[in-house]
């Protein structure tokens, strides 16, 4: 029994149906981790990108080095580091938060590049017109550059969202009870791994396909010229 659901191993179908609710609970954790992780990646990536574009060269270079380091380190190493090393320094986070943070941190290195590409693609004339109208740098980003960059960055951001969703099972190694971890636990108790793992293997493509459809729909819905934020 897990989460109050018993397994019925009388037939393959009965077994699959009986463990589906358990996997469903894991699925919610998986989706939550992806959402929180990607939220962190979106915000942190923007922060990296803006700091890298700072006119203070020292700051810009430091950030560039940090982002490069994050990108060049395996996710699993970062995850273990956050989970096992940080508590030694008094920072203890719940497993779920540690996992989401690691995902977000790793992907923020990718999203910062996507932002950079998106901002660079906004024509120079837009910056000049905004400067000539005396907008502050913050206002130029908020009202002119970011809104025009959104439709340009959406396809790449969508790819990373899907890719992150597929990487969430990594969190099972730090005890997060995601779908994969629960499937393993079921296998450990029934000595029958094929069905639970197959189900997990099926649910992922369904999710990523749905996710891709959603992103395409969003791409079509967004005005090509940009999305005025206010």
């Amino acid at each position: 029994m897990i989460y109050g659901f018993a397994y019925d191993t009388s037939s393959t179908l009965a077994y699959a149906l009986s463990i589906l609710p358990i996997l469903g609970i894991g699925l919610i954790v998986t989706i939550e981790a992806a959402l929180v992780g990607f939220g962190i990646a979106l915000v942190l990536g923007l922060v990296w990108c803006l700091l890298r574009r700072s006119r203070f060269t020292a700051l810009s270079w430091t950030i560039a080095a940090i982002v490069e380091f994050i990108r060049d380190t395996p996710l699993l190493v970062q995850l273990f580091f956050l989970y096992y090393v940080l508590p030694d320094y008094g920072v203890t986070l719940p497993a779920f938060l540690t996992g989401a943070l690691a995902l977000g941190l790793q992907y923020s290195a990718y999203t910062s590049e996507v932002y950079r590409g998106g901002f660079d693609a906004v024509p120079r004339g837009q910056w000049e017109a905004a400067t000539a109208l005396n907008l502050t740098r913050y206002q130029v980003y908020r009202d002119i550059v970011v809104p025009q960059a959104i439709p340009r960055i959406l396809p790449s951001m969508g790819n990373y969202a899907v890719s992150m969703l597929k990487e969430t099972p990594v969190l099972s190694v730090v005890t997060v009870l995601d779908m994969l971890n629960l499937a393993n636990m079921i296998g450990d108790r029934t000595f029958e791994y094929l069905v639970p793992l197959s189900l997990v293997g099926l649910i992922f493509p369904i999710m990523t396909t749905l996710c891709s459809f959603g992103i395409h729909a969003l791409e079509r819905a967004l005005p090509k010229a940009g999305l005025a934020l206010r």
């Binding site: 004339g125 206002q139 009202d143 025009q148």
Partner: protein
């Protein structure tokens, strides 16, 4: 005579080894309409871009509306502060060759954006000002359109309204009709001609429309190789230019 609203003092501007402006001296009086003509690469557009603080310069000094502006190289410890640059920009507006309207905003939104964000006008106030300016440029009926739905001439007229909404004392026009189809040039020149009647507005215009320059300017400056070779009232420059280079240039651009 009041002190000039613009004064370049020995300004030198280089792109790498190429000298764009060479110890450049230039003064413009309040309300004066000055047109710059000359071959491309002669530095006439650069003068406007320096005034709009879009380009740094390497030597010399500049005064705009009594605010002095030293920006040797535009970086390091001589860099003008943002605060300082923004003070200068309060007095200056610019109309670009390629319009540079904000494509994700309606015409009305393009015109109210800066008055609301920079001057702190309330929406009602800003829209009131915008509607009036759109009427001035003959585009009241287009206020809810997006730039992509307008012709080039209409876009440039919106850009003029957008610049005027900030009530600049100096308005810069950087080849405002060069990107337009020939049949659309007239409507934009018509709007600029109207503005030239404004007594207090100082206008600096870079253009290849010689007939227009002759008609609206108080003074025409002929640029070559980063210097003003010859300047004076339009009739004098166009009818009796004294410098051979001016004559040569005018012969090459004027028909007949």
């Amino acid at each position: 005579m009041t002190s000039p609203i613009i004064r370049f003092n020995n300004v030198t501007k280089r792109f790498g080894d190429f000298v764009v402006l060479d110890q450049f001296d230039f003064e413009v009086a309040q309300g004066e309409k000055v047109t710059s003509i000359g071959p491309s690469g002669s530095g006439k557009s650069t003068v406007l871009r320096i005034l709009m603080t879009l380009e740094p310069f390497q030597e010399g000094a500049l005064t705009i509306a009594d605010i002095s502006y030293h920006q040797p190289d535009g970086r390091g410890r001589f860099r003008a502060s943002d605060h300082h640059l923004r003070q200068i920009r309060t007095n200056v507006g610019m109309v670009f060759q390629s319009f540079n309207l904000f494509p994700h905003m309606t015409v009305l939104r393009n015109v109210v954006e800066a008055p609301m964000a920079v001057l702190g006008l309330r929406r009602a106030e800003a829209e009131c000002r915008a509607v009036e300016l759109l009427r001035l440029v003959g585009l009241s009926d287009k206020k809810d359109h997006y730039p992509s739905q307008l012709s080039g001439g209409q876009q440039q007229r919106v850009a003029i309204a957008r610049a005027l909404a900030m009530r600049p004392r100096v308005l810069l026009f950087d080849e405002p009709t060069s990107a337009l189809d020939p049949q659309l040039v007239g409507e934009v020149l018509g709007v600029i001609r109207g503005l030239a009647q404004e007594h207090d507005l100082t206008m600096l215009l870079v253009t290849h429309e010689m007939r227009f320059a002759r008609e609206v300017s108080d003074r025409v400056c002929f640029f070559d190789k980063g210097r003003i070779v010859e300047q004076g009232p339009p009739d004098q420059i166009f009818s009796t230019p004294s410098q051979p280079r001016t004559r040569e240039f005018l012969n090459s651009v004027l028909p007949g």
